[in-house]
C-alpha cells in the first residue's frame, strides 16, 4: 500500500509533472489547484503535502498554517515549492510549519530525493 501525497499548485503543468513523477515512484497522489481546494480535499489519510506558495484563493503559507491546525496533519511533512527569488518566503514558510522546500525549477529526481528524505 503506497503512501499518499497531496500536490497543491495552480499551474497544471507543475501539478502534472509532480503527480506523474510521484505516481511512477509508487505513491498515491491527490491533486489540488490551490490552498482552498487542498483543504477541501484534505479528508482521509494523507502522508505528505507538496505545495506551491503563490496561489490564488489561498496561498501556500496560509494552507500550511491551516494544515498544522488539524490534529491529523500536525506532524506530517509539508514541502513548499519556492523559487530562488523567494528566500524570505522560505523562512515564512518554516515558521508556518513547513518541513522543507524545493527550489523551482527542479527535476523529477530532485523531487523524489526530497520526498524520500522527509517521508519515512
Amino acid at each position: 500500500m503506497g503512501k499518499t501525497i497531496m500536490t497543491v499548485d495552480d499551474s497544471a503543468s507543475v501539478r502534472q509533472m509532480v503527480s506523474f513523477t510521484l505516481k511512477n515512484a509508487g505513491f498515491n497522489v491527490i491533486e489540488a489547484q490551490d490552498g482552498k481546494d487542498a483543504l477541501n480535499k484534505l479528508k482521509g489519510p494523507v502522508d505528505m503535502i507538496i505545495t506551491d506558495l503563490n496561489m490564488p484563493n489561498m496561498d501556500g503559507i496560509t494552507l500550511i498554517k491551516n494544515v498544522r491546525a488539524q490534529a491529523q496533519y500536525k506532524f506530517i511533512p509539508v514541502i513548499m515549492l519556492t523559487t530562488e527569488s523567494q528566500a524570505g518566503k522560505k523562512q515564512e514558510g518554516k515558521s508556518a510549519g513547513a518541513t522543507g522546500w524545493i527550489v523551482k525549477p527542479f527535476k523529477p529526481d530532485q523531487l523524489l530525493a526530497v520526498v524520500n528524505k522527509v517521508l519515512r
Partner: protein, 722 residues
C-alpha cells in the same frame, strides 16, 4: 598509465556500453513509443554519460549530451511525444557521442558542424513553450554526487533539535537514518533532558544525539542531511579522524580529552580530577562535573574510533566487487596457461598410470579434477552472450531497410546463448554479410510483397541455440527465396561448374559460397558485387564452423551457421600413422570402420601399390580410392600417402569417416587411438601455409600431434586429382 588515464579509460568503456544500451532502448522505443520505462532507460543512459563525462574531463561530450538529454527530459516528463524524427535525431546523436569518444581517443579535432547539426535539429523539435524554461537547469548534479578516491573521515555530529521540531513535520530519527546511509554510524542518545512523566509534553522532543559517523562523502553531504532543520537545531560537525595515514596511532584520545574537546568539561576541571587518578569516567561523573550519560557518550566515541582505526584496512579491502574489467589479452594469456597446465596434467597422469603407485594415482586424479575445473571456469570467463552482437544488427536492419525502402522486422531468439569471445568477435562480419544479403536480396519491396499475398513487413529471424558442443545460428527470412535452377545456370555461366553437372538442389545452393558468384542482376550499394558469400564461408571455416543454405522460391531462405563453442580446446580423435600422431576434430567424425587391405588389393589387382613406395616422389596415380560402406560409396584419402609416412601399411587399417560439406569422406589411418581433449597450439609462421594442418597439440607423453584440417585436406586432394 596515471589514475586519470585509468578513469578516462573506464569512462570510455562505460560509455561504449551505455551507447549500446541507448541504441537498443531507442530501437525498442520506436516500437513502443508510449513505454515510459524505455524513455527512462534512454534518459538514464544519457544522464550517466553526461555526468561521468564531465567528471572525467570529456567536457564536449558532457555538453553535447546535456543538450540531447534536455530534449529527452521533455519526453520523460511527458511534455514531448516520441516521433520518428526525434528517434532519428537521437540515434544520430548517439553516433555523434560515439564519434566524440573516438575523437577524444585519437586526439583528432572535433567537427563542430556535426555536433551543432544534431543539437540544432533536436532543438527544432522542442515545442517553443518548453524551449526557454526547460534548459539551463543544474547541468552537473551527477558530477558532484560522489568524490571518488576520497578516503573515509570520521565526524562527531552533535544534533540537538529544538523541542518543537515535530511541529514542522520533521522527524529527527529519519535524519539519523539518513546519516547512517552515508557510512558507518554510531548513535548515542542523550536522555538527560527528558522530564518526569507529569511534566512531559509528548509532542515535544527532549532527546538529543551524539553521532559518530565515518564516511567518505564529505562534510557537505552531512550538512545536506540537516538542510531543512539547520535553523531549528543546535548542530555541530567536527572532524575527529582524518582517515589518512595512521600507522602508529591506532589508539585514540583519552576520555578526558574528548570531554574537554566537546566542551562538556573544562580543562581546569580535568586537571583537578586527573590528580586523583583513575578511573576517570567514574570520578568525573560522581564528582558531578559531567553526567553519567555524557561520559558514556564520550566512551562510545572512543570505542568507535578505536575500532574503526583497527578495522579500517580490513573494511577497505572488503569493498564489494560485483564485477571487474580485465583486458582481453590477459584472459587469452590465462587460457594459454591453462592449456599448458592441461597438457602437463595429461603427461603426469600418463606417467602415473605406468607407476601403479596408489598415492601418486590419488594425487594425479585430484590434479586432473582441479585442472578440469580450472579449464572449464577459465573458458567460461571468455563466454559472452551473443546478444551483444544481436543488438547491433537491429540497428543495421533498421538503417538498411530504410535506405532500400523496405519494411523489415528483425526478430531475435536466444540472445543469451553464450559463445567464446573470440568466436563472437570474428563472427560479426560474416553475420553482417548474411543479414545484408537477406535484406538486399531476400526480402522484397513492400509493394511486391503485397502483390505476392505476403504481409507488407518482411521478417528476418536471427536465432542462436546450443546444440552439443556447438552453437547453431540461423538466419531465416520470408523473402523471395532462391531458385536452384537460376543458381545452377549462373554457376555454369561463371564457369564454376560444368553445364552437364548433375547436382542436387542443396549442392546448387552451396554454389553461392563459391568465389565470384552473385545472383543479383543489379549491383546495389549493399551487396551484389559477387564478393561476400565466399568470404563468409571462409571466415566461418576459419572458426572451425560450417554454413549451409536452404531456400524455397517465394517462401524464403534459411542459412544455418554451426560453430564450435570455443577455439582454444576441442574434442579430438587421436589417430596414428606410422610413428606420427594426428588429431581429427571430433565434431567432424561420423564413424570409424576397418579397411581390410586384402579386399582392396584384390580389387585393384595388378596395380603397383604406390602407397608403400618411398622412392616415388610424385603423388600416387589418379585412382579413385573408394570404399563401399553399407551400400554407400565413400571416397577416402590415405594419410600415409599424403604425408609420405615411412614404413609398410598394417594389414588392417582404419577409416575415419568424416562429414565434409555434407559429403562423407574417409581418412585412412593405421590406428585410431581414441578421444582426447585437445588444447590447440597454433603453428609458427613458417607452417601457416601448410595445407591440411590447422594446428598442433601436445600429447600426454609430451610428443606432438598435428591437428588435421579435414575440409582443406579434401579440397587439396580434389585439386590434385581432378
Amino acid at each position: 598509465m596515471t589514475q586519470d588515464d585509468i578513469n578516462r579509460q573506464a569512462f570510455r568503456e562505460e560509455a561504449t556500453e551505455l551507447l549500446t544500451e541507448l541504441e537498443s532502448a531507442l530501437l525498442e522505443l520506436e516500437e513502443n513509443p508510449d513505454d515510459h520505462d524505455l524513455v527512462d532507460r534512454v534518459f538514464r543512459a544519457m544522464h550517466t554519460i553526461k555526468g561521468s563525462g564531465a567528471m572525467f574531463g570529456f567536457d564536449d561530450i558532457a555538453a553535447f549530451t546535456h543538450d540531447v538529454e534536455t530534449v529527452f527530459d521533455h519526453v520523460r516528463n511527458g511534455q514531448m511525444a516520441v516521433t520518428k524524427d526525434l528517434l532519428d535525431l537521437t540515434l544520430a546523436a548517439r553516433d555523434t557521442i560515439s564519434y566524440l569518444l573516438d575523437c577524444a581517443d585519437t586526439g583528432e579535432a572535433v567537427d563542430l558542424e556535426r555536433t551543432r547539426g544534431v543539437t540544432s535539429g533536436l532543438r527544432k523539435l522542442v515545442p517553443s513553450s518548453l524551449a526557454e524554461g526547460g534548459r539551463e537547469i543544474e547541468p552537473e548534479t551527477a558530477a558532484t554526487e560522489d568524490e571518488p578516491g576520497s578516503s573515509s573521515v570520521t565526524y562527531r555530529i552533535r544534533f540537538r533539535p529544538e523541542e518543537t521540531i515535530f511541529f514542522s513535520g520533521s522527524n529527527p530519527l529519519a535524519l539519523i537514518d539518513e546519516l547512517a546511509e552515508l557510512g558507518a554510524c554510531r548513535t548515542f542518545a542523550h536522555l538527560e533532558s527528558v522530564p518526569a512523566l507529569e511534566e512531559l509534553n509528548p509532542e515535544h522532543c527532549y532527546t538529543w544525539w551524539d553521532i559518530i559517523l565515518t564516511t567518505s562523502r564529505g562534510e557537505d553531504a552531512i550538512r545536506d542531511v540537516f538542510i531543512f532543520v539547520e535553523d531549528d537545531c543546535e548542530l555541530s560537525i567536527v572532524k575527529i579522524d582524518e582517515g589518512g595515514d595512521f600507522d602508529e596511532h591506532a589508539d585514540y584520545k583519552k576520555l578526558g580529552e574528548i570531554l574537554v574537546e566537546r566542551g562538556d568539561l573544562s580543562h581546569d576541571d580535568l586537571e583537578k580530577v586527573l590528580r586523583n587518578r583513575p578511573p576517570i569516567g567514574e570520578v568525573l561523573s560522581s564528582a558531578g562535573m559531567v553526567s553519567r550519560q555524557q561520559v558514556d557518550s564520550a566512551l562510545a566515541e572512543q570505542k568507535a574510533v578505536r575500532e574503526m582505526r583497527k578495522t579500517r584496512t580490513r573494511q577497505e579491502a572488503a569493498e564489494p566487487a560485483t564485477s571487474i574489467r580485465v583486458a582481453a589479452d590477459k584472459l587469452d594469456e590465462l587460457v594459454d596457461l591453462v592449456g599448458e597446465l592441461v597438457i602437463v596434467q595429461a603427461r603426469i597422469s600418463q606417467v602415473v598410470s605406468e607407476r601403479r603407485d596408489p598415492l601418486l594415482t590419488t594425487l594425479s586424479e585430484e590434479l586432473e579434477r582441479l585442472s578440469d575445473e580450472l579449464r572449464d571456469s577459465t573458458l567460461n570467463i571468455r563466454m559472452l552472450p551473443i546478444g551483444t552482437t544481436f543488438s547491433k544488427f537491429r540497428r543495421l536492419v533498421r538503417d538498411l531497410s530504410d535506405e532500400l525502402g523496405k519494411k523489415i522486422e528483425l526478430v531475435t531468439h536466444g540472445a543469451e546463448t553464450e559463445l567464446d569471445k573470440t568466436v563472437i568477435e570474428r563472427l560479426n562480419d560474416p553475420l553482417v554479410h548474411l543479414l545484408r544479403n537477406s535484406i538486399d536480396h531476400g526480402i522484397e519491396r513492400p509493394e511486391t510483397r503485397t502483390t505476392a499475398g505476403k504481409p507488407e513487413w518482411g521478417t528476418i529471424v536471427l536465432s542462436a541455440q546450443h546444440s552439443g558442443g556447438e552453437v547453431h545460428i540461423r538466419i531465416e527470412d520470408d523473402g523471395k527465396g532462391m531458385d536452384p535452377k537460376v543458381i545452377f545456370d549462373k554457376a555454369v555461366e561463371r564457369g564454376i561448374i560444368a553445364a552437364d553437372s548433375d547436382i542436387s538442389d542443396k549442392e546448387a545452393f552451396s554454389l553461392i559460397f563459391q568465389p565470384g558468384f552473385s545472383t543479383a542482376s543489379e549491383v546495389t550499394s549493399v551487396s551484389g558485387r559477387g564478393v561476400g558469400m565466399d568470404v563468409v564461408k571462409r571466415s566461418i571455416d576459419a572458426l572451425r564452423g560450417s554454413v549451409d543454405v536452404d531456400s524455397k522460391v517465394g517462401e524464403g531462405t534459411v542459412i544455418n551457421v554451426k560453430l564450435p563453442l570455443t577455439l582454444a580446446i576441442i574434442d579430438g580423435l587421436q589417430v596414428r600413422v606410422a610413428d606420427e600422431y594426428f588429431v581429427i576434430p571430433l565434431t567432424m567424425v561420423e564413424e570409424c570402420v576397418e579397411l581390410m587391405n586384402r579386399a582392396e588389393d584384390a580389387r585393384k589387382a595388378g596395380m603397383d601399390d604406390v602407397g608403400t613406395d618411398q622412392q616415388l616422389a610424385v603423388r600416387p596415380k589418379a585412382e579413385q580410392r573408394i570404399v563401399n560402406l553399407r551400400g554407400e560409396i565413400v571416397p577416402y584419402i590415405r594419410l600415409r600417402e599424403w604425408f609420405h609416412s615411412p614404413g609398410d601399411r598394417p594389414a588392417i587399417e582404419q577409416i575415419v569417416v568424416a562429414g565434409v560439406d555434407g559429403m562423407r569422406v574417409g581418412i585412412v589411418v593405421d590406428t585410431v587411438i581414441g578421444e582426447h581433449q585437445t588444447v590447440i597450439k597454433s603453428l609458427g609462421r613458417l607452417y601457416r601455409n601448410v595445407e591440411g594442418i590447422s594446428g598442433a597439440t601436445i600429447k600426454g607423453d609430451g610428443t606432438m600431434a598435428l591437428i588435421l584440417d579435414v575440409p582443406r585436406l579434401v579440397q587439396c586432394v580434389n585439386r590434385e586429382r581432378p
